[in-house]
Symmetry: C2
Subunit: 335 residues, 2 copies
Amino acid sequence: MIKNITLKELADQLGISVSTVSRALTDSYEINIETKKRVQELAKKLNYQPNPFASFLRKHKSRTIALVIPEISNNFFSLVIKGVETICQELDYYVLIYESHESFAKEARILNHLIGGRVDGVLISVSSETKSSDHLKELLERKINLVMFDRVMDDLDVVKVSSNDYISSFDATEHLINRGCKRILFLKAGEQLSTMQKRLSGYRDALLKNKIDFDDDLIKTFHPYKELELEDLTKVIKETKPDAIFCTVEHLAIACYDVCQKLNINIPKDIKVITFSNLKVARHLNPSLSTISQPAFEIGKLIAKTLINEIEGKETDALKEIELDCTLIKRDSTR
Amino acid sequence: MIKNITLKELADQLGISVSTVSRALTDSYEINIETKKRVQELAKKLNYQPNPFASFLRKHKSRTIALVIPEISNNFFSLVIKGVETICQELDYYVLIYESHESFAKEARILNHLIGGRVDGVLISVSSETKSSDHLKELLERKINLVMFDRVMDDLDVVKVSSNDYISSFDATEHLINRGCKRILFLKAGEQLSTMQKRLSGYRDALLKNKIDFDDDLIKTFHPYKELELEDLTKVIKETKPDAIFCTVEHLAIACYDVCQKLNINIPKDIKVITFSNLKVARHLNPSLSTISQPAFEIGKLIAKTLINEIEGKETDALKEIELDCTLIKRDSTR
């Protein structure tokens, strides 16, 4: 077993003090260049590894941030992760990724764990069960920086980055109306999520503008933390007889493809389908799937930059609430 | 700012010693139930947070493991993550997820960081650039447990879990031969990966058994750390004129769909396509995509269990090399 080289051993071999070695390694201005070079070369030769925990206790900074998301196996969130990692690598931060799996209990447990001082800051998109922000407030009280994205909470005074859910939803609904649809089934995933509220408003206002009555029976919720039962969706489609389906999340659109196939309903002839989605193969589906694509990678980069600026106490001109534009991609499913 | 409650403060309020408080909180058998209850109730009431770093320094155990993978945005790896997290949650371990982005330099940097003592063990699937296992040997020399999966290295004496790449590849090739294919283009992602070698052997032996000459010109490599150029793939397909394409990774199959669409080549009439993939929407592609699906979730659970057993010094009867079966799902792309 290779023993970890300590600061003391480096100091002994060089005949200088431990504190000189320590300051040389952190590139302190108090140490002359010649000494720094000697220390750094020996440290490299002996493969000196700073103890990350000792360094934490000394500086109270871990250069680590947490990213808390509902689930990794979702193209939106995996692209957000890519964006966050791109920035963290540039700025020499580590990212710890945590999944709440759409459970409020798990999310609260993760945050309780983070309060213990493991990270300098937290990026979060809340679970669909999350109704209260008390667990997040506690983080702020302990001076751990927080930036929210996509699924945000109104009552917190932190930077929030999301996509332009209202406008995108308005435009997508109007696209369906322009294609002759009047009975547009709107499928929500979760009740209180900020994203769902804004998407529903966009849908409602597009109907209003085009003088189509809003019908409460056409708004249905499927809870993402429950396994989606295809029978439930089949029942909804049979009962509501829509001419279009607007899905707020990707997996609902895939389920619609399953059900329509089983019921011999032709997409887009009988029912048109559009969804929020970052699915790469959307263009190869049968039929190709019309999507509202969120700028997931850009959101990831922006939230990481903002959080690290806050951690490092840098002045920023970041707005408190930032909305990035989505892209509406019209394909065969709404032809 | 809320001050963290210390063990000392708990002890003072209860009029008992710090070590009694500490042992009561870790549920030591040396402390009677009455006292444990009093301590735990006060700790809960005052929201006592154990300092994870102090606890690390004391026990030299962080109850944290690292999962190092080439990329998160790949259905195989995101399902592995789910399996790992399922077990870690059950057994009260934390998972830190690191992406090498198919770069050996990044992978080596991650491991160098982990050597510093941040985790008790490491799960890894190496990058496609990784040729030497020296960076992994150093981990072992420092007594950090290691379990490899999917993309493993032959020269390391650790538990390795993969899927049955040879047999799956043999069966998939024979499926194509049974559908009348004779010129099967085999697309590799990376040169030295263990998975690619085994998949190529299965392909070669299936040809041999069916008396079809092995043609070196039909074996092509696309490097996953370079952006795939559709022109390159177009050129390969035009030059080799295959009647089938066997893709070793999912994104190559999607690229084949792109190229065939552009060249007006009909799948499956002109060219049949099969791929290793855990893509959920494979059944909805146009045409639906035949896949060899790896037991990704099961692999995740198995590697996490094995690693934690090793960390905790538990006897296991785990074999050194474990291969789990894949599922061949025949769909329209090979009809």
